[in-house]
């Protein structure tokens, strides 16, 4: 304990020097900005800023880049709530209820709860990193291909709760997502699948592109259709602040989301993303009124938002303690360290305590800054909704196109976004939810990769999923969940969970 205090003292000593506060602020501001702009993500931004960091000290560079990363997490939820466009991949779930809240004129509370929930989650996650980073990193190492596969099976089954409409449609959408996920180069054999000779497809379809198309473009098309309803939506903007009831409803969701996010964030490979989906499913499961989900339930915003922020923070753990990046942003951070002549790895913590603890302390400082920055901005964001659609939507479309293009500087991607926009519109007409499809799209390729790797490692022995304790745990939980869903006796209750209206 004393050691931890000592470390935190070192950390805050580094983090609150004016120069580092300044870079944290710059990072947070930039991050919020790019988070709000759909499609322009932290990866592209950090890459562009890398050369600037040459002349900074390693601590300042890392503090600024980290600020961009979690700033983007905050900012991403803003567009998700206001215009149903996931600014960042992790805010896909926030669209579900956040946007509905905005449509009911409750954009203010949704934004406030998202910001406060994220802040709380950020604080807790920072503390977790400070106290338990090294042992947690060991836990992350315990997850091999078999464990990942089982975790994802569990996640996929749990996520069928995401749908609020017909279960059949939800499953169809998941399968569809899985199929889209198959496009690209097979990891094991290097064979190209479903690419139809188009080289741009050989790395698969980008997740952001699909999400923007299915949610964003489709939403805009659908909105153009409804002339009168749009007016109601803008005129109904009411209170900016959450009511007492809102707080009462969301605090537990924030706690659960934080816990789930902190755990899943540690795992390399899409942990934070899985966390937000997981948190949403969890909230819907434990809620006393699951029928409200998808129609503007505040828990549906609070849980996933806390989860994705907690996950974003704890995903630093494998990078800082093992030198293993858990996502593209972390890979860039490692790049930033390498530019500074620091080889990131297990020894960084011991050799450069001021870097390690300074970064951790600055995360907390950065979260505080973000909440201070974002709360007053809520009024402004909500006003944005009163901008006439004929101005707002074309500009959003332009930003989306720029964002998607910037992913790999390839116009082909913008085209693909358009295709998914049309698909998304058709799905909306057929009352098929895009969220399960997105989940299938993310999890499908990961599941396949890990399944086949696990089978390769076990030389084709499928019992490996049940003989490894962690994997077996997830498998048993999945089966239990399936039984619950399938048992006719419980069927009535399930209907309540899944069916939105009558």
């Amino acid at each position: 304990m004393e050691q931890i205090l000592h470390n935190l003292v070192i950390g805050f000593g580094v983090a609150v020097t004016p120069i580092h506060l300044f870079y944290a602020l710059v990072g947070c501001l930039l991050g919020t900005l790019i988070g709000v702009l759909p499609g322009i993500g932290p990866v592209a931004t950090i890459a562009m800023l890398l050369p600037i960091t040459f002349n900074l000290s390693p601590v300042a560079a890392l503090i600024m880049l980290a600020g961009i990363y979690y700033g983007a997490q905050y900012g991403g939820s803003t567009t998700a709530i206001l215009v149903n466009i996931p600014g960042e991949s992790s805010s896909v779930v926030t669209c579900l209820d956040g946007y509905q809240m905005a449509r009911q004129g409750r954009a203010g509370p949704a934004l406030a709860v998202a910001a406060l929930g994220s802040f709380f989650a950020g604080c807790v996650a920072t503390l977790i990193i400070a106290v338990a980073a090294p042992p947690l990193a060991e836990v992350a190492l315990k997850f091999g291909p078999a464990e990942y596969f089982s975790l994802m099976v569990f996640g996929l089954i749990a996520a069928t709760v995401l749908a609020h409409g017909s279960l059949i449609k939800a499953i169809a959408m998941v399968v569809w997502g899985l199929l889209f996920g198959l496009v690209g180069t097979d990891v094991n054999s290097g064979v190209l699948r479903f690419t139809f000779g188009v080289p741009e497809l050989s790395d698969g379809i980008g997740f952001v592109i699909v999400a923007m198309g299915m949610f964003g473009t489709a939403e805009i098309v659908a909105n153009i259709e409804m002339k009168e309803k749009r007016e109601i939506f803008t005129s109904k903007v009411k209170n900016l602040w959450p009511t007492k009831d809102d707080f009462k409803n969301s605090w537990a969701a924030v706690l659960r989301g934080t816990a789930l996010g902190s755990m899943l964030g540690i795992l390399p490979g899409g942990g934070a993303l899985l966390a937000s989906f997981g948190a949403y499913s969890l909230e819907k499961k434990v809620s006393k009124h699951p029928e409200k989900f998808g129609k503007g339930a505040i828990e549906g915003v609070a849980g996933p938002e806390s989860a994705n922020n907690a996950g974003a923070q704890t995903s630093f753990i494998p990078m800082l303690t093992l030198g293993i990046p858990s996502n593209a942003v972390m890979a860039l951070m490692i790049g930033a360290l390498m530019i500074q002549g620091i080889a990131p790895g297990p020894q960084v913590m011991n050799e450069k305590p001021e870097l390690f603890w300074g970064l951790i302390a600055s995360m907390w400082v950065g979260n505080l800054m973000l909440v201070v920055l974002n709360l007053p901005l809520i009024g402004m964001w909500v006003k944005l909704l009163t901008v006439p659609y004929r101005y707002l939507y074309p500009s959003i479309l332009v930003f989306m196109a720029i964002g998607v293009y910037s992913l790999s500087n390839n116009p082909f991607d913008v085209l693909i976004m358009g295709v998914f926009g049309v698909l998304g519109y058709i799905c909306a007409k057929l009352e098929c939810e895009p969220a399960p499809m997105i989940l299938g799209f993310i999890l499908g390729p990961l599941m396949e990769e890990n399944l086949r790797r696990a089978m390769l490692l076990s030389r084709g022995d499928p019992t490996v999923f049940f003989t490894k304790p962690i994997s077996a745990g997830f498998m048993i939980a999945s089966i239990a969940l399936l039984v619950v869903v399938a048992l006719p006796a419980i069927r009535k209750k399930r209907e309540e969970v899944f069916v939105e209206e009558g």
Partner: protein
């Protein structure tokens, strides 16, 4: 033009050299990433750009030596469609084994592999990567059999190596070095003909009796074919000057790269030709393809 996503080592060195060139040439040098199809999309884009010296590409071992052998219907010729300006980075691969494996030397490893053929796994960042091909070459030269486990990138492979789920890997030095130094994994040999200055005690595979074995991951500046000689010479001169600057050298070291042994554009072209032949042979023998 960097034919890979932002943040990787090729991208990093491109941004560093771009900053140096910008100063030397007194005009802005912009780094643009155009990833896809193992780097082929970006490289092909440059191959078909105007040869005016304003569009350059970071051509790498993948785009200019391995991929042409790996992909059928390859869109460009790595030797004839490019002017090879300057080799920037040469990073050796290292044979690293999990700490759980009771092998202290290459000879131990071969013994283990021969005792139980097919029990050992070797991981790599992807099918057709240097790590994969080095492993295949090792198998051929030693007459052993090990199972190749491809990953999506080197990072998750390293994680499984540290955890002991895979036993060995021919990882590039930059990503393996921190783990070796921290004692999380054990290095047995380097894949180059000469020892690395980072791990001077570590023998080469050739010294350990596995020969001929000389694989290096490399990348460098290239321009479309037809770029005028004066421009190529000017860029080559500025690039090699930049490489000598202490600031850049230090950062190159952080990436595990030694100062490149190839200095002139002509040598570079010969080198690319040699590498392409070498990997065409290796890929054919390993049976790896992408279609």
């Amino acid at each position: 033009m960097v034919p890979y996503a932002a943040g990787g080592p090729v991208d990093l060195s491109a941004r560093l050299i771009a900053a140096s060139l910008q100063q030397a040439l007194a005009q802005p040098v912009v780094v643009e990433n155009k990833p896809g199809a193992g780097g082929n999309i970006g490289a092909d884009f440059v191959a078909k750009s105007a040869p005016d010296g304003y569009t350059l590409v970071m051509g790498a071992i993948a785009t200019h030596a391995i991929n042409p052998a790996l992909y059928p219907k390859f869109p460009y010729d790595p030797v004839r469609d490019f002017r090879h300006i300057a080799l920037l980075v040469q990073v050796p691969n290292v044979l690293v084994v999990s700490n759980d494996l009771p092998a202290r030397s290459v000879a131990d490893l071969i013994r283990l592999a021969k005792a139980e053929p097919g029990r050992l796994d070797f991981a790599s960042g992807s099918t057709g990567s240097t790590g994969h091909l080095a492993g295949e070459l090792f198998k051929q030269l030693t007459g052993t059999y090990m199972v190749h486990i491809p990953y999506k990138g080197s990072a998750p492979a390293v994680a499984d190596l540290i955890a002991g789920r895979v036993q060995l890997m021919f990882d590039n030095l930059a990503s393996a070095l921190p783990q070796i130094q921290a004692g999380k994994a054990r290095a047995l040999a380097v894949t180059t003909a000469h020892r690395s200055s980072f791990l001077p005690e570590l023998p080469t595979l050739e010294e350990a009796g596995v020969r001929p074995f000389d694989l290096t991951t490399w990348w460098g500046l290239m321009a479309p074919a037809g770029t005028p000689q004066p421009i190529v010479d000017r860029l080559a001169a500025e690039a090699s000057k930049a490489l000598l600057a202490p600031q850049l050298r230090e950062r190159w070291r952080a990436m595990g790269s030694e100062p490149p042994t190839i200095k002139t554009p002509a040598e570079f072209t010969a080198f690319v030709e040699h590498e392409r032949k070498l990997y065409a042979e290796l890929v054919k023998r390993s049976g790896a393809t992408v279609d």
